[in-house]
Symmetry: C2
């Protein structure tokens, strides 16, 4: 009943880090690494790869940079079947700062971009391919992209050497019919490429949209432990693995780390289904206003946040 082409990628540390400035203790990152390896999933995204000048180490933790030295402190030479990924943001990594793969413990670099950055993303992803890495392009916030711009971007990606292209619902604002339409569009434009899917949970649709992705042919699936991620978070890895039938996936290591690391962390960081995130998602807005509200004194005033969003000049 399972499709062997499907690969699962855990981005607990990378996307979860958006909630705590990537200030995870080494023990947490090591436990995620061990759980991912033991559960049989395919990739672990350990953070963002960034140039030193892009951020201050006083403000963000090591997983905003993914220095080879830091990664090796966690994984050694990574003698497991689990591949390691890092995400690159356009403008935050100088291509010259990326080591050749043979000097790095990373296997894959995923380039995140907005639609106006697609040419830069193709350049950077092809640069990573030339250096020996696997590479993807993850086009963010597609729920706000005009059709003509999307078509042009897809044409450019089609001509590139980048083998994997992601459908990303950055705002958690899409439902199954929109997902189906976009996947079919991506598949038609990129018939020889793998389509990936990365969903957010603002409307409690991250897992179900991922299932829609599977049904319509996505073969790279992003998820995180207990759904940790920016705002409402991501598709929960444990739900996804409960659903997939591939016997190589094991759930016990996943429940174990959720119990030992994620549930305690939930007391410090408030990702997941909260009404402010539902409100921004249902309005197709970036979650930043909701995250700000959730960190403010009025965080329990849901009607206040709803009124605030309706009063926004840009809505």
């Amino acid at each position: 009943m399972y499709r062997k082409e499907i690969k699962v990628l855990d981005c607990t540390v990378r996307d979860g880090g958006l909630m705590n400035g990537w200030h995870f203790p080494d023990k947490f990152v090591k436990d995620v690494y061990k759980a991912c390896a033991a559960s049989g999933i395919d990739y672990m995204e350990i953070g963002y790869i960034s140039s030193e000048k892009a951020f201050s180490r006083k403000e963000v933790g090591p997983w905003r940079f993914c220095d080879d030295e830091d990664v090796r402190r966690i994984v050694g030479d990574n003698k497991t079947n689990l591949k390691l990924s890092a995400m690159a943001d356009i403008g935050r990594i100088d291509p010259d700062d990326i080591k050749p793969r043979k000097e790095s413990v990373l296997d894959m670099i995923r380039v995140a971009c907005y639609v106006h950055q697609i040419d830069k993303a193709i350049f950077l992803a092809e640069h990573c391919l030339e250096k020996g890495y696997e590479a993807t392009i993850n086009l963010m916030a597609v729920s706000t992209v005009m059709e003509r711009d999307l078509n042009e971007a897809l044409d450019d990606v089609a001509k590139s050497k980048v083998p994997i292209f992601y459908l990303v619902d950055s705002f958690g604002s899409m439902y199954c019919e929109q997902i189906e339409l976009l996947i079919n569009k991506y598949k038609a434009a990129l018939p020889d490429k793998t389509i990936g899917i990365h969903m957010h949970n603002n409307m409690q649709l991250a897992f179900s949209n991922t299932v829609t992705g599977i049904i319509h042919g996505c073969n790279m699936l992003d998820a995180t432990l207990l759904g940790i991620g920016r705002g409402a978070g991501n598709c929960p890895l444990e739900v996804l693995l409960s659903f997939l039938k591939n016997p190589k996936f094991k759930l016990r290591p996943i429940y174990d780390i959720i119990q030992k690391q994620l549930i305690p962390l939930q007391k410090e960081i408030h990702w997941g289904y909260y009404i402010p995130y539902l409100i921004t998602g249902s309005m197709n807005q970036h979650p930043r206003s909701a995250m700000k509200w959730m960190n403010g004194e009025d965080k329990d005033d849901l009607v206040g946040f709803y009124n605030h969003m309706l009063d926004q000049k840009d809505y």
Copy 2:
């Protein structure tokens, strides 16, 4: 963009009461009633209708019985557009104990049954119709019903006068393809009847399965405030109303009561997405084992619960 045939039913007090023995303060029930009326939804299910001999009033609160006197204490003569519903369980209500509708403030009685009780359910629902009520049959736990039994039940319902038949995912174990298949089966067997949908959230699919229901023609949609309900709970009313485009629905009263009543209640009752409920749902099991585990001393031992479920004799 909206379908005017769609009706939304809030079952916050009825299904949520499964988590606290229906011991809601009158203020809570009154606030739910006011919020439902103000938000423009169609029905509020205020509890179960039961005979006095079926339960002890020392153990369960008034919303396990729905005495007319208790209901009127909350709604008076209900001079709103909101219709009131109560659920009847087979064997827990003597048909003679149901007042004629003209003496009652209730508008609808929904008969819940398992497949082997379908004849009793048709008898009771038709009895309610004769007494002047609207009536439905809600066939529970369909994820465990053999196809031949389901076909026979649908044949019987087709011959009945009962106008509304519900697809119910009691264990929260179904995903979109199964929902689509069953709705199409129900529609084919019952072409002149309205199909309703009542989902549980064990795999975070209650809302998305409800959307699948909408797409395939369900016109009675169950939901609860902040998804409160047995175990993992139900489709959250606020997500559903954010999605439906009917201008008659208002969100502000919903966010207001969530803020004032539901979020405080979450500190006392633990419904929603918890791993033990995911485990029973993904195994297509009744949530009772998970609810027992969640109330025990080992509730944080997720691996323990997973092992416990795998060790069950009946699995």
